[in-house]
């Protein structure tokens, strides 16, 4: 057993840098922000860390029972899907409210210590999640410049649409889902009925 384990490398955290070509295409698709950074960027899940502060409960992985509690500010992967590429868009600092409002909302008091639950105020804005690259069944999809640009341009296109148009689109989807249920229901119920509703018929030709 010891021999079998010898030489085996277990990768616990796989990191990837975004290819230069992707960054360039995203820059073209979305332009630059006031700080000269691209509006869009692609990041690998394990590379994208964010602040999390407060009281952490550490649990036994096998039983789920509580082992210890720690109050601290950590950097942890921001998104649940750590082994996927994510596309992000920059949001300006004002979209996070004022510095005062930020701390008013995010400050947590645990065991007598004040900890900002989302870390310090984003003075230069921050990048927020737009899209996770995954296949229809959640499978891995490789990041390419074309795919990244395609998504960024689609989001930019929809940003220019009115709120009313976006609302209408959501309404259309709801109506489509209603129709889908009706079709599904009648298809199921039709299954119980013989062909031509059991009326006699003959083949012609």
């Amino acid at each position: 057993m010891k021999d079998k384990c010898r030489g085996r490398i277990e990768i616990v955290r796989e990191t990837h840098e975004t290819p230069e070509a992707v960054l360039e295409r995203l820059k073209l698709a979305g332009g630059l922000n006031r700080f000269g950074q691209a509006h869009y960027r692609a990041v690998w899940g394990w590379n994208r860390l964010a602040w999390i502060g407060g009281k952490f409960e550490e649990r036994d992985p096998s039983s789920g029972s509580l082992l210890r509690e720690v109050v601290e500010l950590r950097q942890e992967p921001k998104y649940p899907a750590v082994n996927r590429w994510h596309l992000e868009r920059w949001m300006p600092p004002e979209s996070y409210g004022s510095r005062r409002a930020w701390y008013a909302q995010t400050l947590e008091i645990a065991d007598g210590q004040s900890v900002p639950a989302l870390g310090p105020y984003p003075e230069r804005g921050d990048y927020e999640h737009c899209f996770t690259l995954e296949g229809p069944h959640g499978e891995f999809v490789q990041l390419t410049a074309t795919v990244a640009e395609h998504i960024a341009r689609a989001i930019e296109w929809s940003r220019n649409k009115s709120r009313a148009a976006r609302r209408e689109a959501v309404g259309e989807r709801t109506a489509r889902e209603e129709r889908a249920y009706d079709e599904h229901a009648f298809a199921i119920l039709d299954d119980t009925v013989p062909a031509f509703h059991a009326q006699p018929f003959v083949c012609v030709g």
Binding site: I52, P80, R89, A169, I188
Partner: protein, 418 residues
Amino acid sequence: MPAQANANVVALQLEKVRDKVPLLYERDDILLTMIQQRGDVEKVSSRNLRLPLQVYPGGKAGSYNADGGDLGRGSGTFYDVAQVSPIFFRFAIEITKLVEYATNGRERAVENAAKREVANGMKQFRSFLDKLMQTAGSGVLGTVSSFSGTTWTMATPPGAALVYVGQTIQVYDPTLTTNRGSCNVVAADPISPTQTITIDVNPTGLTNGDVIVHDGLTGSNPVSLYGIKYHQNNATTGTWLNLNRATYPVQLATPRVNAGNAALTPSNVRLAINKVRKSLGINHVSKLIAYMAVEQEHAWENLGITVSQIIKEGGAGDGNDLDLLFSGRKTMSGVPIKSSVNADQTRVDFLDLSHWGRAVLKDIDFYEVNGNTVFPIYGASGGIAASYIFYFDTAFQVWDDSPRTGAYIDTLARPSGY
């Protein structure tokens, strides 16, 4: 031998579709049916289903003096038991003789009438139960903020979203103590900002602030389906599945983010998700879904950082490409979005449905008495009426064995236009 009644023919038609009824009901497009009938739970009897919960860990950790010191005593894991008892729900469908006469051919007419009413009835029943899933367990479908004649303005949330035209509702005082009587909804407007419903006759004693509940509930503090607001709740008083919330104020409280009537922001979402991660472990959010009303889905889209529905509806001409290349799932900070027209318009719930289940006493089916599923209606004279009735019924309750695995954002502003 008595003459064949039309109800017998309808019954035969219903029998044809009987095995299809669960297929119409169990479809993963509404929250209720996304919550599985769990395989690890025995079909329950009329007695309570018991859910053992590990509420406190066992063992005493610490250092000790190896030079003859006392190692102290230990402790064991502490369990308590949550209990669930199913509630019976029915949906009555009545068909008049005219429906049958409306099409040609006797066999086909009855078949069509039965088929259409089964499909429509099931859709409405699913919708009714899904609406109850949005509530806090007492069957409250709305609050009358004011009324003018028989038109009631409903407080938002949930406004008029949880009632449907033709529904029989009951009015209770705000403390759910006094039942003021019942009435029927003749119009409901869950779309416009005013959120009004119109009913046939006001119950005696109707007062601003009264609440409406569904038909069939009786007595004070009625119990109905335990919905999202029952399980995803940070209250430290009251009861939860027969446990006193005050006894386990931390274990039974779902993490909450109060948005303070402001619009949804990415910070709200991160705060909520992080609360789950802090209590359960950093990597324990992969099963979450973000459940919300279409209003909040729209609010998220308005931030301009997501793939908008407008793309997927084909507006950009390349929506199909996106669907082919990717799952096309809309996400909120990486958590898949599930939106509903029935959900609370001011709330986003993060749910781990692997902890939710349904304790089922009776699966959905036609209500049956001695093999009969269709029953005649009698006229005022005592003679037979030109219509007949059948019912769907089911008995179940919804549970969540770990309220801390979710989180919610509430008191969110609704986007303009709603």
